[in-house]
């Protein structure tokens, strides 16, 4: 271990294995689906379009993730909602988490 790392650890930085596990779980979710980056992008676009027809969302901040560590795997869409139902009020961004089986 380098001195930098030792110092960081002394001040409470965590080991790197959780990061490895998390990254692997995401990359394998895509690998196992056998979807290419373009196909994923097309899926993301279709989902966004469908949601946008009903509520206004912040398209740039939408995240579409596959979570494989539970069975069955889940598609988790994280879409920040731009406007609440009362358009008269000041628009407040709020995080809406939606889970699609």
């Amino acid at each position: 271990m380098s001195w930098d790392t030792i110092v960081q650890r002394f001040f409470g930085a965590k080991g790197s294995k959780d990061e490895a596990k998390g990254r692997l779980q995401i990359v394998l979710a895509y690998d196992r689906l056998g979807l290419s980056a373009e196909q994923m992008e097309a899926l993301r676009k279709d989902i966004l379009e469908a949601i946008s027809r009903h509520i206004s969302i912040d398209v740039d901040r939408v995240k579409v993730d596959f979570q494989h560590h539970q069975n069955p795997a889940e598609v988790v869409i994280n879409a920040p909602v731009r406007r609440t139902r009362r358009p008269a009020e000041e628009p407040k961004p709020s995080e809406a988490k939606q889970s699609v089986g």
């Binding site: 650890r9 965590k14 080991g15 790197s16 294995k17 959780d18 490895a20 596990k21 990254r23 692997l24 779980q25 990359v27 394998l28 690998d31 196992r32 560590h69």
Partner: protein
């Protein structure tokens, strides 16, 4: 006799497939079984040098397939354990010069004479992999606890499940000091990700390098931690119920000295 043909594979290169094949082969032979080790890595043969049998090769796998000799003539008998033989790969041919059907045929012939046929698979998932898997009844996947070997192992497991069913997993080169400080995936992390049955854990061990240098696989060194791990794996393959122990870090010199002095 109809033996078990087991392919040892990984996807990623350099994770210890050949070392694993050599040690399991010797382990099974030590326990009295007749074993044929087949090097299926045509063009990049290595099992011979790991086994220390590189000077005794006359014919090789492609010679057998081309009909230039009989399987028995190409087998190199290990003098340390006469019930162990190795079928070397060709160093000059291409992987494409062999078909899965031909490999199936050679493996079937070996299964008649041996209890175990262990096939050392080349890295990758192309022709060489398909050849090595063709004649196998079961598969062992080797990985190390690093991101790229685990990812490749997952791909290989997916491919194997279509043909041979669920493989068993060996996690190689576990550095316990790194696991303890949270800088290396532990066995449970790897199993969470890959969701297959664990056959064994092998600690990271300098003795493996020394064994390679000498052409005397580490299982022949009965005091080495990795040698003991391979022996447990061989016994599990034979159906013995050998528990998988928690690996302990050997610690540094000071740690060991402290242990001796204070009997902690």
């Amino acid at each position: 006799m109809s033996g078990r043909a087991i392919v040892i594979t990984s996807g990623k290169g350099g994770v210890g497939k050949t070392t694993t094949a050599a040690n399991i082969g010797l382990g099974l032979a030590k326990h009295g079984r007749k074993v044929a080790l087949v090097d299926a890595d045509i063009g990049l043969r290595n099992l011979d040098i790991i086994m220390g049998l590189e000077n005794r090769i006359v014919y090789h796998l492609v010679d057998v397939i081309r009909g230039r000799c009989q399987v028995r003539q190409a087998l190199v008998k290990d003098k340390r354990f006469p019930q162990l033989s190795m079928l070397p790969a060709s160093q000059i041919d291409q992987k494409e010069s062999v078909t899965p059907e031909q490999m199936k045929d050679v493996t079937a012939q070996l299964k008649e004479d041996f209890d175990f046929v262990l096939i050392d698979c080349p890295a990758g998932i192309e022709q060489g992999f398909r050849n090595a898997v063709a004649g196998a009844d079961e598969a062992i996947v080797v990985t190390t606890p690093d991101v790229s070997p685990v990812r490749d192992a997952d791909r290989v497991i997916g491919l194997l499940q279509n043909s041979l069913g669920d493989p068993q997993l060996i996690i190689n080169r576990i550095a316990m000091d790194m696991v303890k400080r949270g800088d290396m995936l532990n066995q449970q992390d790897v199993l969470d990700i890959l969701a297959v049955r664990l056959l064994g854990l092998v600690p990271d061990d300098e003795e493996v390098v020394i064994a390679g240098n000498r052409g005397a696989p580490v299982i022949l060194n009965e005091h080495s931690r990795s040698g003991k791990a391979y022996d447990r794996i061989a016994r599990r393959i034979l159906g013995e119920d050998v528990p998988i122990p928690e690996l302990n870090g050997h610690g540094g010199l000071m740690h060991r000295l402290g242990k001796m002095l204070f009997r902690r």
